[in-house]
Amino acid sequence: SAVPDQFSRAVDWLSRYGYLPPPDPRTSKLQTKEGMEKAIRVMQRFGGVPETGQLDNETLKLMSTPRCSLPDIVGSEDMLKRRRRRRR
């Protein structure tokens, strides 16, 4: 169970790097627990740490690792004009 500011920092981090849709002020929709867990799982799988869906130590450590500012999940519109993803 992450302390609240850790949780909100995680939400920022996950939105920033494309794992969570950016919060939409108009619909003031909050992040659901399921949504968060799903996003954390995707991030863990992409980052190569055990997939627990929780903000465990390894996940927090990876989140604090210096990194590239681009999002991991291709899809944030304002950096791309067209989006196509090809999987091996």
Binding site: Y17, R45, F46, G47, G48, L62, T65, P66, R67, C68, S69, L70, P71, D72, V74, D78, M79, L80, K81, R82, R83, R84, R85, R86, R87, R88
Partner: protein, 439 residues
């Protein structure tokens, strides 16, 4: 790997550097070195795909104009909507190919301490540059390991000139631009496509290939430069910081750091930092170089004979064994074949002056208690003189010249993070020890 869906519709690309890292934060990276590191970073991609990269130089107004990929070192808010965040955190970003003005532009966070050559406590510019240029060519982040396109900084990738992309990255770039000289993607036999080779086995203890070299001493030159001690050996050097910690277990290559020494330099005779103007003087055979920071000044090498050193038998000195400025009196001392000379170096306006003092050379035996044929000497601590020879060093305290008994200590243990040799003799190859139930 993942593709952004965007690519350049040409293969001859140009790049330019609009700003360089701040010298205050990244002192070891002169602009010329940044250029060569970025050139190698582009080469990593042109080795795997039919791409060419040409650098556009800076015009007379001091700005590089045009270029497909524009490199900038920027801080915090830098009007592209993706602010950096100071040291750590986000390191750099790049824009995907396209027709927009911003397409291909690559920004590095100028708050980072950029370095190269394996210094673990800083951020390796080459590693991050290869990653960002992958984005500038159209690749997205990859979850593969190994892959240069993983989003997290994983430390320096090591040997810059010989760096090779991982298979995942090669396949990705070849997916966009084809294969160099027409070979099928991934290289190898077109009939049986090569399976990805398994990751190399990782030793439980990280191996330290430089251990033997570093820990057996016998350095060609030792110098105290700006408070850090450089140990030169062959074509490499190690660097010990003020606090006594080693910058990296791995040696750095002389040619990648000291720009301007002859290619293939693999032995430095002596080095010292001239206090009057902070220039660094290198001696190799009958020549010497003057460096401003890490770049040799124009007009060098010059002949050693300019120093006017003649042996007592009147012969010109052909090489220097050791050189240092003795903090005790600020004089410059050069040693060769058992004799030493003393110089008074100073400044007259912009001009550096150097005066060989009368009555020299004298015999090294005057420096009692220390070896007469040393590897090199530095001033360190409170004006003490440290004499290095093989794997030992002797300290003459507080300007003392003739101390009867000086106990030598281990250079490897005290300066280069090597373990102390075992007190009792253990079998040379432990594997020959055997133990069994009855033994």
């Amino acid at each position: 790997y993942a593709l952004s869906g965007l690519k350049w519709h040409k293969t001859d690309l140009t790049w330019s550097v609009h700003s360089y890292p701040s010298p205050s934060l990244s002192p070891g990276l002169p602009n010329t070195l940044v250029d060569s590191i970025l050139t190698y970073a582009f080469k990593a991609w042109s080795d795997a795909a039919p791409l060419t990269f040409r650098q556009l130089k800076i015009d007379s107004r001091g700005a590089a104009t045009g270029g497909d990929i524009r490199v900038t070192f920027a801080r915090l808010l830098h009007d592209d909507g993706y602010p950096f965040d100071g040291q750590g955190g986000t390191l750099a970003h790049a824009f995907f190919p396209g027709r927009d003005e911003v397409a291909g532009d690559t920004h590095f966070d100028d708050h980072e301490i950029w370095s190269y050559g394996g210094q673990s406590s800083t951020t390796d510019l080459f590693t991050v540059a290869v990653h960002e240029f992958g984005h500038a060519l159209g690749l997205s982040h990859s979850s593969s390991d190994p892959s240069i396109m993983r989003p997290y900084y994983q430390g320096p990738v090591g040997d810059i000139p010989n760096f090779q992309l991982a298979l995942d990255d090669k396949l990705a770039i070849q997916q966009l631009y084809g294969v160099k000289d027409g070979r099928p993607p991934g290289g190898g036999d077109p009939v049986n496509p090569r399976l990805p080779s398994p990751p190399p086995p990782r030793p439980t203890q990280p191996s330290d290939p430089s251990f033997h070299e570093r820990c057996q001493g016998g350095f060609d030159a030792v110098a105290n430069i700006r408070g850090e001690v450089f140990f030169f050996k062959g074509a490499h050097f190690w660097r010990t910081k003020r606090d006594g910690s080693l910058v990296s277990l791995n040696p750095a290559q002389i040619k990648n750091f000291w720009i301007g020494l002859p290619p293939g330099t693999n032995k430095i005779d002596a080095v010292y930092e001239r206090k009057s103007d902070s220039r660094i003087i290198f001696f190799i055979g009958p020549q010497y170089w003057v460096f401003k920071d890490t770049v040799a000044m124009s007009g060098y090498p010059r002949p050693l004979s300019e120093w006017g050193m003649r042996t007592r038998s009147g012969q010109l000195v052909e090489r220097v064994d050791a050189a240092f400025i003795w903090a005790h009196n600020g004089k410059t001392y050069l040693f060769s074949s058992g004799e030493f000379w003393r110089f008074d170096e100073g400044r007259r306006g912009e001009q550096v002056t150097r005066q060989l003092e009368p009555g020299y050379p004298r015999d090294n035996s005057l420096w009692g208690g220390v070896p007469t044929h040393m590897d090199d000497i530095i001033s360190w601590g409170e004006g003490d003189a440290y004499f290095f020879k093989d794997n030992l060093y002797w300290v003459l305290k507080n300007g003392g010249l003739n101390q009867e008994v000086v106990i030598p200590k281990s250079t490897a243990v005290d300066w280069l993070r090597c373990p102390a040799p075992p007190a009792t003799s253990t079998p040379k190859i432990p594997k020959q020890c055997n133990c069994d139930l009855k033994g």
